[in-house]
């Protein structure tokens, strides 16, 4: 009886300090003003991307024939001004932000799922399998990605978002797989993995219970750094005309159009570019700090 009450106490104590590393990381993150600022800004940006377009009475492809290429503040209702076709830039920037975020987060998730699975299996299995899996990654790496993207765009309907996902994911998971494999190789040599083998834990269970949880820190940090990369890559593809097509907006094609009008209508460049810069700064900042906060040696 006494034993079981003690057991309960222990279970409760365990629940209290569960995820000790993560709790500490959160405390450390919260204690930094710059982190609080960028996290706050990120929340505001996401909220704007989701809800912002509803605040304006304009639709992203609605044309205001009376007000073509108006600067911000010139006309009531067009807070960021309008473009050459008289479309509201506030709504276009925010729907562009929404699309960029969606594409980049989905592409990051895809590349993480594929990359972590692939890398962890290759690293943990080792030997021939590892050689074979990683050499095929090398081969894919060696193909110029623009070449792949151009082929994909010619195969799939133009402007389809699927092309973007596939293109971004195809590029992203290669790096993830390499990083994860390297980490797995390092983990595999650690004593606690050998201890698990000595306990008689089956290899798949070791992978799930001991390898993957210890990869999470690396993976999360890598993900926060991948999202901005994906946004930039999407912008680049759209800029080249391979990604999101008119009339739909993404930060990339807004900037592409804005760049052409830079001298006559600078606000068309400034609005989407400012949002992109702010978003990238926030994400990079969070990623860097998260990597510090999750490093046990920093405690």
């Amino acid at each position: 009886m006494a034993g079981s009450t003690r057991a309960c106490a222990v279970i409760k104590a365990g629940a209290r300090s569960a995820g000790g590393l993560w709790q500490r990381a959160a405390v450390r993150l919260r204690s930094r003003r710059s982190v609080r600022f960028s996290a706050g800004a990120l929340v505001v940006l996401v909220a704007l991307a989701v809800l912002g377009p509803f605040a304006s009475r304009w639709h992203f492809d609605a044309i205001d024939w009376q007000h073509l290429a108006q600067a911000p503040g010139a006309v009531a209702g067009h807070w960021f001004g309008t473009d050459r076709l008289g479309r509201d830039l506030f709504v276009r920037t925010l729907t562009g932000l929404r699309l960029s975020l969606l594409v980049s987060v989905l592409a990051t998730l895809t590349s993480l799922v594929i990359g972590v699975t692939y890398g962890a299996i290759a690293g943990f299995t080792g030997g021939r399998t590892d050689e074979l899996m990683m050499r095929s990654v090398d081969v894919l790496y060696a193909l110029p990605y623009l070449f792949i993207v151009i082929i994909l765009t010619s195969l799939l309907p133009r402007g389809s978002l699927t092309v973007l996902f596939v293109a971004l994911g195809a590029v992203g998971w290669l790096t993830t797989a390499r990083i994860v494999r390297g980490q797995t190789l390092a983990l595999k040599r650690r004593d606690f993995i050998e201890a698990a083998r000595a306990l008689g834990v089956a290899p798949p269970a070791i992978l799930m219970r001991h390898v993957l949880p210890n990869l999470i820190g690396t993976v999360i940090v890598y993900a926060t750094l991948t999202v901005p990369q994906m946004i930039l890559f999407e912008s680049f593809l759209s800029f080249l005309g391979l990604g999101v097509q008119e009339p739909r907006a993404s930060l990339g094609n807004l900037i592409a159009v804005g760049a052409q009008e830079m001298s006559s209508a600078p606000w068309m460049l400034i609005a989407p570019a400012a949002v992109l810069v702010l978003l990238l700064l926030c994400l990079n900042f969070l990623g860097d700090n998260l990597s510090d906060a999750l490093d046990p040696r920093e405690h």
Partner: protein
Amino acid sequence: MRSTPVSTEAANEVLLELRGFGVEFITSAGLICAARDIDLTVRRGQCLGVVGESGAGKSQVFLGALGLLEANGRARGQARFAGQELLRLGSRELDALRGRHIGLIFQDPMTSLTPHLTIGAQLTEVRRRHLQESAPAARAAALALLEQVQVSDAARRLSQYPYELSGGLRQRAMVALALAAEPELLIADEPTTALDVTIQAQILALLATLKRARALALILITHDLGAVAGLAERICVLKAGRLVEEGTAEAVLLRPREPYTRALVAAAAAPAARSGAAPAAAAPAALAVQDLSVAFPVRGGLLRRRRRLQALSDVSFELPRGQSLALVGESGCGKSTLARAALQLLPPESGRVLWLGTSLADLSEGELRALRSDLQIIFQDPLASLDPRRTAGESIAEGLKVHARELDRGARELAVLEALEQVGLAPELAARYPHELSGGQCQRVGIARAMVLKPKLLVCDEPLSALDLSTQAEIVALLERLAAHDHLTLLFISHNLGLVRRLCQNVLVLYLGRMMEAGAAEALFAAPRHPYTRELLAAIPSTDPRLQPGRLLGVRAGEPASALDPPSGCVYRTRCPHAIALCAAQRPPWEPAGQAQELACHRWRELPPSAP
């Protein structure tokens, strides 16, 4: 700057004097006092041993006196070197003093030598900087220095890089570097901790010789009482930043006054041989290893050629149920490989491992995994052997999840609590993560993780070498209790022969993956027949300051040969003082010697009986 006033007339003049000395660190948690109220004196030609456990502030005191503290550290009090107040000197004056008048040796020679410079370049740099010597003169002096620290083949070593040297040679090079500018005072901070016991003895013997030859003042900072017993005239004991005892070596080591010192001395003293019945030879073997060989492929050299590293060749032994066998030898001799191969954690190249008559290699993976609850292991590094993301309780429960599926969550928790109690840990610790536990606590968790499965065979791979002295004593007591209580069969790997004598009934001595000598511990320690066993036993430092200096005089030079390119015939012959032509030509047979010993040596019959 060579103007520091150092007179040389008085033989035992005071060289370094600390008065009311303390070291503090300013941290986010406030002011931390690493040492306080330290008074000590070092005279020319004398050795002061500074003893204490890790965290006692031993190193910080001297780093503080030399102005080498971290940026947030601060030294206070008085520190006079040759009449000069060190704490008032600027960084330039200190630079001129360090190296020139005070030499430093650190624990790990690999990290204290600059990796991209040759040994010669590093030695000549010191000569040229501090003594303003010309390049050829500095080079000649560097060669002389290496010869003085007994580096073999000194001329070739000058053009080698630190990574090309073995650990022992590296530490010798480090000593040469510290002495390069002919300092009056040498501070050695744990100079032997990272080394094998035989190399330890060699380095200590070297320091003793140098001290005599150069009338050098020596400060030996260590946790190893055996190290100071052979060298130090005076010893001071530090605990939690305070000087708890100070006196002559004999007074401190033989008649310690403070309870803390007494505990340290008791923990270090060579323990009595294990009491208990002598092994009954007829008992059936629980674990039998037959002609086991393990080889690793190694890539090396410019062409990255594949080479074979024969880690273990033709090792056989039988271990009866409930008995203990110690695997003994220097690092790289294959003891850990043998333990892992015996547990099938490494694939053997040839040979068999039988557990209760069943060959482990014949089992399917599933059958082997099921059997693993009987065969458990405790690792050397207690922190590294625990998953950093699992609490102590989860780690202990893991084996139960595999081997006792019938247990529900509550029953598992209870078993974990029992295991914690068995190893002397409070139940609250189950919820802690490994990094929140001390080294000793982590090792207890590791033991609990093994013991919760009620194993029949327990392999201990150097379970103490990462722990402090007093913690070691606790863990030994725990292992002794568990082994006696549960009738465990114990395979114990250690380079600490004192410990082996206390814990094990049988000993197997390995060198370069081959068996050298085996037998009952009592017989083997009383009358070692193989020259290698004798060398190992001679290297164990005694904590008796009346005996240890004499023992250091008898230390022989020599390092393990490369396992990639083992010597022909008897692998030990390159170090053996008794080697003859036959030893190079023929591998010695494994033969019985006396009642309870077996060995592989051509010449054991002709050797004089040893005096242990």
